[in-house]
Symmetry: C2
Subunit: 192 residues, 2 copies
């Protein structure tokens, strides 16, 4: 029994896919309304304002991401495999077009005009992702799995930039394979 999602979760699902496609200004309550067969006013019942809707959406996304990443760090043997799993996750998302972009990366591009409550949440996700990557890289370096040229924090920022930039390139060129190439090369450079 899948698809037993509550209405508010269905709203967030649709909104997230719409944001991934077109950003904060790229969707409307009417779009969500049409997509899940509910009136606009009913969406306002669940999320009174657009800023609240997107804030809730980013909160949920961030919580899912943190849970997933912490699961990897706790349950997957080596830092190398943890990193590989993270990159594989996005590679799959991009290849099957299920979620071809990180919703926070999308929103980060629009930072300057986001409501403050949304912008601060997006920033928080970037911080927690950077922290996770830093911890994985430094653990891997201690175990002799990664060779870092710079401090782990800096390498984490480089890696994060590569991943988000690779998403952008895959989209710009219309070629998911571009993400794969960049991701695997990134791993190769760390494990050389």
């Amino acid at each position: 029994m899948k698809s037993m999602a509550s209405t508010s979760e269905k709203i967030l699902d649709i909104a997230q896919s719409l944001i991934v496609a077109g950003g904060y200004n790229g969707f409307s309550y009417a779009d969500i309304s049409a997509a899940i067969g509910i009136r606009k006013a009913s969406i306002h019942h669940h999320f009174p304002t657009k800023a609240e809707l997107v804030s809730a959406l980013v909160d949920r996304y961030r919580q899912q991401a943190e849970a997933g990443l912490n699961y990897l760090r706790a349950r997957v043997a080596s830092p190398a495999e943890q990193l590989q799993s993270y990159l594989n996750y996005w590679d799959t998302c991009i290849r099957d077009a299920s979620q071809p972009f990180c919703v926070c990366a999308m929103l980060a591009g629009e930072m300057q005009m986001l409501p403050d409550e949304v912008a601060s949440r997006v920033r928080a996700h970037f911080h927690s992702l950077a922290a996770w990557l830093t911890s994985v890289l430094s653990a891997g370096a201690e175990q002799g799995l990664f060779w870092l040229n710079k401090r782990p924090e800096e390498e984490a920022h480089m890696l994060m930039a590569s991943v988000h930039g690779a998403m952008l390139s895959a989209r710009a060129f219309g070629d998911p394979a571009l993400f794969t190439t960049i991701a695997t090369t990134q791993i190769a450079k760390l494990t050389r």
Copy 2:
């Protein structure tokens, strides 16, 4: 005597800065109207539709970029310095906030909902930037200035992703220094 720009160029200037801030759906003719003190209808006289306006804007941007990059390739001594100049350009733009993002990178994120005429132009810019980086990297490799682990095209794509991702990170974290760090580290890895 600066500021002798024609009205249509003023329109494109404002539109570009608005797109850099908020994307394709993040600005309106009314915004431009307010910014340069002209009526909305007058903007429609110069650019009948929004798609035409943004197409013209991307054409102009692409032409300027290509001219600048080809100038570097022709007039700057070494490929290492050419690459450095390219990165310095963006570093300056981001630090002084004059143009803290590539307009085509911004639009690339919204590819899926851009008018076709705009999307194809954005894609074209990505292709020409990739080609320039490829030629610079392979020239540098031939001269023994760069050490490439992969084919020049792949290294160019990696570099491009890093640059765009670094722009995004600088914006997300609200810290221009992040771009600087990533850019200089990127250079260091190539010249090691």
